[in-house]
């Protein structure tokens, strides 16, 4: 049984999406720098 003040569980799909987004970001920045020159992607 979950304690009343415990953090709600995070859905596995949400964690998977987050991981995929970070991986995507790691690929996006070098690719865009190659096309556009110096710059950055700021995460949400």
């Amino acid at each position: 049984m979950q304690a009343p003040d415990a953090e709600p569980p995070v859905a596995a799909t949400a964690l998977a999406d987050e991981g995929a987004a970070e991986a995507s970001l790691g690929e996006t920045i070098p690719r865009l720098r190659e096309i556009l020159g110096p710059g950055t992607v700021c995460g949400g």
Partner: protein
Amino acid sequence: MFHSILVAVDGSPDAEQALTEAIDLAEGDRARLTLITAVSQLPPTAYLAAGADFGKLFEDAHAEAEAILRRARERVPDDVAVRWVLSEQPIRAALAQQIVDGGHDLVVMGSRGRGAVRAALLGSVSHYVLHHSPVPVLIVHADPERRLASSAPVSRGRTAADRRPVHAGA
């Protein structure tokens, strides 16, 4: 004299005109130009829609933002130092953060974005930036008269009023 100009781009006519003005200022002042755009925020219902491929929606929004940056970058002459920022934050927060983090001394942005709904939303963004930015803001309209509004004189001895008719609001 400006050293670092931040210009918000979203592909709208107003933003296109804002980029034109920003390039003009950057060339005149030999300032560095930073292009910023944000990935369109997906509505909360996108998470909930049955069968929706949220990853695909996010990728599409990202691709659209990247295309906007590419088109903007192509318009910047080679003699202007330029960099870019692609934010996954809402545009209002992205601009507020970048103004501070980037050490910019001028913000140039269109009055309104694309489409009726987005125009209203981004119009509120320009209004927000106009009233909260710690540095001067140049709000650009793309209407036939190319009206400009500015929160403050935008350069030494040269104001928006010298360049185009000025309106008092965003």
